[in-house]
Every structure is written in structure tokens, then in C-alpha cells.
């Protein structure tokens, strides 16, 4: 499994630090999206692991673990699609 991940970034200090062209390393994240959120989804014990939330999350922040699903809160925007799509109402939105 691989995905873009957070990496340190230092602003260019001198001219030679600037990239030479417009191409750059793929999957290079420097900021989080967690600040966009008013509510955070919580996966409760009712979860039957049907993976609907995993499939329909526009940000792909719900990921499979050994014992079910977990959420990457660094990049969750709190849209609540997972809560709506869940057939067992196993996801609750909690005010931040």
C-alpha cells in the first residue's frame, strides 16, 4: 500500500534552491486538511466492515486495518458522506 504522504518542506533560501522546471516529485504533501472540518466522523462498534465508506470517501481517508477500518484525520474534511452511506448507521459525526 502506498499513498501521498506528509513531508517536510523548507521554502527556498537562495536561487539555486528553486526547481529548474515545472516538474516535481509526485505525491508530495506539505499541509494537512484537518482544519477544514467542523465535525469528525467516528466509526463505532456497529461497523460490519462492508467498506461502503471506504469506497465512497472523496478524500480516501478511510483505510483498512487488521481489525476493521480507521480514519486519517489529517486529511478528513468532515463532509459526512461516510455517515450517510453507512447501512448500519455505524458512523457518528462528532463536533470538533
Amino acid at each position: 500500500m502506498s499513498k501521498p504522504y506528509l513531508r517536510p518542506y523548507q521554502k527556498p533560501q537562495k536561487l539555486s534552491d528553486y526547481p529548474l522546471g515545472t516538474a516535481s516529485e509526485a505525491g508530495y504533501l506539505v499541509t494537512k486538511n484537518s482544519g477544514w472540518r467542523n465535525e469528525r466522523p467516528i466509526i463505532t462498534d456497529e461497523c460490519i466492515n462492508c467498506l461502503q465508506c471506504y469506497l465512497y470517501c472523496p478524500d480516501g481517508v478511510i483505510f483498512k486495518t487488521e481489525d476493521g477500518l480507521d480514519i486519517d484525520y489529517d486529511f478528513c474534511k468532515g463532509c459526512g458522506i461516510c455517515e450517510k452511506i453507512c447501512p448500519k448507521q455505524a458512523i457518528k459525526m462528532e463536533v470538533e
Binding site: 500500500m1 501521498p4 516535481s24 467498506l51 472523496p58 478524500d59 480516501g60 483498512k64 458522506i81
Partner: protein, 303 residues
């Protein structure tokens, strides 16, 4: 088929992650799923539009496969170049995929797309259709439906939003006698996944038109993106179909439609519609379905 890609078997890797799309964005879901099916061998080309605006903010780069921004009009021609170039330098197992919005496909990029289909280049073109130029602030595109309010088709006392019906791009593309074309919706991802999988194995040009609601432009709550996409299919204003070997095929032929008012009046962009306007939309829908049912072969019953 036992080897279908499902939520269980699809790769855990994410190729479009940490992007700056609005919460509940339908387009970003379409792009995310498409790249998950195509895998790391996908070389994506994105024209000006939401997905390039939210995916490439140097140094924050959200695609982990090879991706490039094209000119607005040149998605398909850049795909041609990417495919030929990758082949020339001996890259194996790649797929050149274009991910363009409705404006970049139906209006600005249609000439390049038409040319690529004419040359039958080995590319996959995916149009995520959110029914207006959302990135620049909701202007009417060729795929904006009748009655929809946008900043360039405002609703007033005399004129109620967009006057023209939605361009029938799927059939325009099919009319080129393309090897494979399909319609899809993010309201039905298993169907969308199958179609990308199928399209990726086609030798020649493949085109997929996926409806991807935009909560901001459509005037719906951010958590209702999927629900509204499903309502759109249920009320008959969108259909799931394929074009292959010179024949149209309807994937889903509903016996009756849900209420068209329910779908329309749930959205801010249609709030101003009067009964007479809704009547026009219902009539357009019925005419369309009558033609489809009469002319398209191999009509299947419920999936």
C-alpha cells in the same frame, strides 16, 4: 465474473490524496476511484479545471502517479502525445488517462477529443460531469441541463435559468464509432469501476462519461453528493449505458421513475423552477427514454 474489482479487492493504495477539493466533492471521488482501478501505471493528463487546481499546488502535489496539466483545449491531444512518447521510450504497462471536466470536454476540448477518437489512439478519456464550469465559479457549460441556474444563466422573472438542454456527449462520442464509450455515475461506483476496468483493456480510444455532483454548484449539503447522484439516475435524468462494437447497450432499464420534483427541488440551482419548467424536463426525459428503448439493442433488465 469472479475477478471483478470490488471494495474488498481494489488496491489499498491511494493515487489522489490530500487534495484541496471542497468537502464532499464528487469529481475528486471519480478521479480517486479511476486511478485506483488503473493503478500506478496510469499517466494522467488533467486540463485546467477543478482537479488540476486542487491536485497541483506546488509544493503540495496530490497525485502519486505520473500526472501532467494540459492546456484547457488539449487534454486528448496531450494524451495522444503521452501515449506515443511512453511507447517510444519503451515504457510497458502504462495507460494514458485524461481526467477532464464537462466544460473541458464538451465545449473547449471537444475538437481535440474528436481528433483523438478519429486517430483511434490507445487512450482512455474520462469526463467527470458536474454540469457547469465549477472551478471558475459556476458558469454554464454545454452539459448544464435545462433550467439550471448558473452565474451566466441566472433565473429571473422571465427566464428560469438555462434555456438549452444538456448536450448529449455520450452519443456524440459514440457517433465517431469509438471502440468503447460508457456513461457512469459516482452514485454507482461498482458499475463505474467495471467500466474503467473494461475501458483500460480496450485497444484504441475509450471514453467514460461519469456524473459527479458538485455540492457548491448544485446547491446541496456536502454530505448528499452520492444521494443526489443516485436520485438523478432513479428519476431518469441520467442513464447507465455502453457503446461497443457499434451497438448501444442500456445497463439499467428501470420500470418506473422516482419523482423528478424530488430530485430537482432538493437542489439550489433548480429551486426557482415552476411546474411548467419541470413539465418540460419530464417531457424531455420521456422522449429520450422512448428513443432509447426503441432503438438500442440488448436492453437489460435491472442489474
Amino acid at each position: 465474473m469472479s475477478n471483478k474489482i470490488t471494495a474488498k479487492t481494489i488496491t489499498d493504495s491511494e493515487f489522489f490524496y490530500g487534495h484541496k477539493a471542497c468537502a464532499g466533492c464528487g469529481g475528486s471521488l471519480a478521479v480517486r476511484i479511476a486511478l485506483k482501478v488503473l493503478g500506478e501505471g496510469a499517466i494522467s493528463v488533467l486540463p485546467a479545471g477543478c482537479m488540476s487546481a486542487v491536485g497541483f499546488n506546488y509544493p503540495h502535489l496530490c497525485f502519486s502517479n505520473n500526472s501532467i496539466i494540459s492546456t484547457f483545449a488539449g487534454t486528448a491531444s496531450m494524451l495522444t502525445g503521452v501515449e506515443a512518447g511512453a511507447r517510444a521510450v519503451g515504457i510497458k504497462n502504462f495507460k494514458a488517462v485524461g481526467l477532464a471536466g464537462d466544460g473541458g470536454t464538451a465545449d473547449i476540448g471537444i475538437q481535440a477529443l474528436s481528433g483523438a477518437i478519429d486517430r483511434n489512439d490507445d487512450i482512455l478519456y474520462i469526463c467527470y460531469d458536474n454540469e457547469a464550469y465549477m472551478n471558475t465559479g459556476i458558469q454554464k457549460s454545454g452539459l448544464t441541463p435545462f433550467g439550471a441556474k448558473t452565474t451566466t444563466t441566472p433565473s429571473g422573472e422571465n427566464i428560469h435559468g438555462n434555456l438549452r438542454p444538456k448536450k448529449n456527449l455520450f452519443e456524440i462520442v459514440a457517433a465517431h464509432d469509438i471502440p468503447y464509450a460508457a456513461t457512469a455515475s459516482i452514485g454507482n461506483l461498482p458499475d463505474f469501476i467495471n467500466k474503467i476496468e473494461k475501458a483500460s483493456k480496450i485497444k484504441g480510444t475509450a471514453y467514460i462519461h461519469v456524473v459527479a455532483p458538485c455540492p457548491i454548484g448544485w446547491g446541496i449539503p456536502v454530505n448528499e453528493t452520492i444521494e443526489i447522484a443516485r436520485k438523478m439516475m432513479d428519476c431518469g435524468l441520467w442513464y447507465l449505458a455502453e457503446y461497443e462494437n457499434g451497438k448501444f447497450k442500456l445497463n439499467k432499464n428501470p420500470s418506473d421513475f422516482s419523482s423528478i420534483e424530488d430530485y430537482l427541488l432538493a437542489q439550489g440551482r433548480f429551486k426557482h423552477l415552476e411546474a411548467a419548467d419541470i413539465e418540460i424536463l419530464a417531457l424531455q426525459r420521456d422522449t429520450k427514454w422512448a428513443t432509447i428503448r426503441k432503438n438500442w439493442n440488448n436492453i437489460q433488465e435491472e442489474l
